[in-house]
Amino acid sequence: MIIEWSLNARPLRSEVSPFRKLLDYLRFDLKLLGTKEGCREGKCGACSIWVDGNPANACLILMGQLEGKNVTTIEGLNERDKFTPLQESFLTETAIECGFCVPGMVMTATALLEENSDPSRLQIRESLKGHLCACTGYQKILDAVEGVGLPPASEGRARMKAKR
């Protein structure tokens, strides 16, 4: 089956089985390894991508469902060699240990921040409900999402003040 879709703003024409999972197509056929393979059941959120700008689990989407859709992966989120403010904030807050869950978290949290630039802690928790992190613990991740708009860490005191 030929699927016409767009990936990271590039139009694509893919000849692929409609039953192939998007996650497998991204990782094994296109070698886009930023989208992680976790539970394959939509529970861990490691494979989160955007379909038409909305977060979705790549493990729960078949290629046949993507005709005419715009898919964005973590690779499509960055400008060349440049982190997004949210990725910077993950580094600043040391919200990364093994980093396996981070691409998915960044995709979902970026979608949240695009919709609401100043979300409450509860809204952040709700939006990250579909993600599991086995090592960092969620508090630092919440801090990172909450701290996107804060002054950089180099302005330590100003940052602490803004946090309060």
Binding site: M1, P18, F19, K21, R40, E41, G42, K43, G45, S48, V51, N54, P55, A56, N57, C59, L60, I61, L62, G64, Q65, E67, G68, T108, E126, S127, K129, G130, L132
Partner: protein
């Protein structure tokens, strides 16, 4: 295995009439892909193909028709959770949509798929049952004849209980849905809005799972001049089968102490062992339900 993804509803009807026997209708596919790890091979003995209706715009509309609000079967759960009219027509449905599963899944899962899967813990089934919604289904015609559409009460869609088993040993018990894989759920119709109508939804989710609720409860009713005229409750969940009851609140003043006293008496006297499936014993289920109802009414009264 074939994957048919028609662009127009008439095309989908044609396909169903001509060769519906060996097809299974699907839309968001979140339930099927989660449950069957070897999808679609695990279902190849039952079906020769899938009819994907998730892209049919005609089935995704949510709109007001003849003073009733209808919800298209392929409307995504996140579309429902963001629908401004639902807050006015059916607060319970809006609240249920907002807590269904995870944001990623809400963006893909459709209302029709959620109902057709029949989970006891489904917030939306509970809310729609409490709202006394009706469902419109297009049943496939026999031996090539055109299909026929029927509208009936949503609770008539569920007949008994069913058990699904996957190849890797997962077992899932849920409500049995009377439609077959080739019968298309078209839309859900909410009853006309009554003056003084209210509804709410509450759930208790154990921390062991990110999605499934132990108990989900939804109440709809009417109140006028500070008095409740009627209130109907539907509860279900992982821990209990469907419980549909009229709450003994008619004539009760809209005051928390009066409402709580009657609710406590109701929950205390109800035989929860008859609806219990797993989890806490009946007495504790009663307390959980009382807590959820109390929270819902407190929220409604602005406490």
């Amino acid at each position: 295995m074939e994957f048919l993804s028609p662009k127009y509803l008439s095309e989908a009807y044609d396909i169903l009439d001509k060769r519906g026997d060996d097809l299974k209708i699907c839309a968001g596919l979140t339930h099927l892909l989660r449950f069957y790890s070897d999808f679609p091979n695990e279902l190849s003995h039952s079906y020769k193909g899938f009819l994907h209706v998730g892209e049919l715009a005609a089935l995704a509309e949510c709109r007001e028709e003849n003073n009733r609000f209808s919800l298209g079967s392929t409307a995504t759960i996140s579309a429902l959770a963001a629908d401004p009219y639902l807050a006015r027509y059916a607060n319970a449905v809006l609240e249920a949509a907002a807590v269904t599963s995870t944001p990623q899944i809400r963006n893909r899962r459709t209302l029709g798929g959620e109902v057709a899967w029949g989970s006891y813990h489904s917030p939306l089934i509970c809310a729609l049952l409490a709202m006394e919604a009706r469902v419109k289904v297009r049943f496939r015609g026999k031996s090539g004849a055109a299909g026929r559409e029927e509208t009936f009460e949503l609770h008539e869609l569920f007949v008994g209980e069913t058990k699904r088993e996957s190849k890797d040993g997962k077992v899932f018990e849920s409500r049995n849905v009377k439609t077959k894989a080739q019968d298309l759920i078209v839309k859900f119709i909410l009853p006309p809005q009554q003056s003084g109508g209210f509804s709410f939804f509450r759930a208790l989710t154990p921390k062991i799972h990110t999605e499934n609720s132990g108990v989900v409860v939804s109440v709809s009713g009417t109140a006028q001049n500070g008095t409740i005229l009627s209130a109907r409750m539907v509860a279900s969940g992982i821990w209990m089968k469907t419980m549909e009851e009229t709450l003994p609140l008619d004539g009760t003043r809209m005051s928390d102490s009066y409402i709580y006293e009657r609710l406590y008496t109701f929950c205390d006297r109800y035989n929860f062992e008859s609806v219990r499936r797993s989890g806490p014993p009946g007495g504790q289920l009663g307390l959980i339900l009382f807590g959820l109802l109390k929270e819902g009414f407190s929220n409604m009264l602005g406490r």
